[in-house]
């Protein structure tokens, strides 16, 4: 058998082993030795924390505290605690304090922007707010139709133009209408774009600038929607969308089912941006507040 044949065969085995993420190597109470530290570090890497952050957490655990011994559950608890500590400062729900509060939703293609807008609209509406949506994705096929269906289901008004229209002027019209009609929250959808496409990123900057003409403080929130399946590229996304659009907070989607989204830990360390909520399904009620303890527990497998 060729070496890559063997590799493929061995893969399913090691995948299963790592599925438990932070799995210790012994059942009894043992010192946190090199071998167990290696296992922890690898578990963190397999959960998308990235090799650097994983190494840093390993270092924190490597001090003398556990020289006397610790069992597997103890290890998991300690790791979960480290992760939760990194995440604690960034867990912050989205507060509605302006009128109208203008929320611009941005992100790479397919990350879950449009669905997240429906979920947020549902949440704010249930809170008694007057919500309006703006179909700012004038590029993708049926993107406007998609948001219209959501607006219908949630029961909120929508400002929409035609496919191929100018996103910035649509956003401008929407903000104006929200002001005139006494709306509490306006949420603006945008087309997905990869952060290395400067032309598309410039367009996003323009949308933001144009909104600012009506209210210099608007958009009051710029939410970057991240897909939990994404790996280390999420850090680039945060950096570049941050520079171009002034991202004020994050929402992570597709966290239903399995423990993913570990790059949030690296992101929290590096950028410290608030994480407002997480998406846990395709329905409009599938939005949850971000709780560091639960997230950390799911990541290390104690949940």
């Amino acid at each position: 058998m060729s070496w890559f044949g063997r590799l493929t065969e061995g893969l399913s085995k090691s995948t299963k082993k790592l599925a438990n993420n932070i799995t210790g190597l012994a059942t009894g109470t043992l010192p946190l030795d090199e071998e167990r530290l290696d296992a922890i570090e690898e578990g963190l890497i397999a959960a998308d924390l990235g090799p650097r952050v994983a190494a840093r957490i390993r270092e924190r655990l490597a001090d003398q505290k556990y020289a006397k011994g610790i069992d597997d559950d103890g290890v998991r608890a300690v790791v979960a605690d480290e992760v939760a500590q990194i995440l604690a400062p960034v867990a912050r729900p989205l507060a509605i304090i302006r009128k109208p509060q203008v929320i611009l939703v941005v992100g790479v293609n397919g990350s879950g922007k449009t669905t997240t807008i429906a979920k947020l609209a549902r949440l704010f509406k249930a809170d008694g707010k007057q919500v309006m949506l703006a179909a700012g994705d004038t590029f993708r096929a049926a993107a406007i139709a998609q948001l219209k269906i959501w607006a219908d289901r949630v029961g909120v008004p929508i400002v929409a133009g035609d496919q191929g229209g100018d996103a910035a002027s649509l956003a401008f019209d929407a903000v104006k209408r929200a002001m005139d009609e006494g709306i509490d929250v306006l949420i603006i959808d945008t087309a997905g774009r990869l952060q290395n496409k400067t032309g598309l990123m410039d367009e996003l900057a323009k949308v933001k600038r144009v909104i600012g003409k009506l209210d210099p403080a608007a958009p009051h929130d710029v939410l970057l929607v991240l897909d939990a399946t994404t790996g280390q590229n999420a850090l680039n996304q945060i950096e570049v969308f941050g520079q171009v659009a002034g991202v004020t907070g994050l929402v992570m989607t597709k966290l239903d089912g399995s423990a993913r989204g570990g790059m949030l830990v690296a992101a929290a360390e590096k950028f410290g941006l608030p994480i407002h909520a997480i998406g846990v399904g395709e329905g409009m009620d599938d939005l949850q507040p971000f709780t560091p303890q639960d997230f950390a527990a799911a990541l290390v497998g104690t949940a």
Binding site: A141, G257, E282
Partner: protein
Amino acid sequence: MFDSLSERLGGIFDRLRGRGALTEIDVRAAMREVRVALLEADVALPVVKDFIEAATQRAIGAEVIKSVTPGQQVVKIVNDCLVELLSGGEDVPPLKINVTPPAVIMMVGLQGSGKTTSTAKLASWLGTRERKKVLMASLDVARPAAQEQLRVLGEQTEIATLPIIPGQTPVQIAERARQSARLQGFDVVLLDTAGRLGVDEALMAEMAAIAGATNPDEILLVVDSLTGQDAVNVAAAFKARVALTGVILTRMDGDARGGAALSMRSVTGTPIRFAGTGEKLDALEAFDANRVAGRILGMGDIVGLVEKA
């Protein structure tokens, strides 16, 4: 954001220069750097571990140790191993579209991975390059306006789409699509399915039922090249339920290093056939293992330089 691998390796080998030949220990030190580079490129950890072991064995061989540019030799060996792994060491077989018509191609994958867009791109590719008469059908009854999206893309590419009949199940739509294709003399029918997570049992069972009802000639897994460590689980979950025949890697126009490609090839054991390189409907390319290997390693021309030397 990432230091390039050649820079990092350069550092290691600079320190060793003048000491003559490299030892196994030196090679292992270099391989630790390669390991970090692969992990930063989102190659899945189990793949990385086995890969490094295999590449180390090769690199410990005489060529490297005696070479005047050992660092570059190590990179070259790692690159060669990557290319082999990405291509499976063989040419990609042609799509099975020359069967008794209609050939059925089914697209599957996670939510938002690029299935609908890739369906339209592939249909257009088959229409223009292979001169096939192609029909597209959306079986996505879950996502708002999903069928409408494919209909619009059909208009843009001038590819026929199956008329939308509200209320049908995905299996019913799939059967109707195949039936219509046969009656109307289409060569190929492309089935776009709804996105699903591997842990969603109901949706995974639905996918298996569609495949069971239509017996596709090709089942292509559409994967986002931004995917992280979860790529192995994704590939394994889909492979466990349907007989995958290939992979399409989307968003290769991004700046992700694309390590997921390696996981896909390894776990599915099927070829990566195409790379999606943009939102436009002609942005589809045959997958190039050489180019992607260089990108995963985060190094440009070093391999070419070594090959010339």
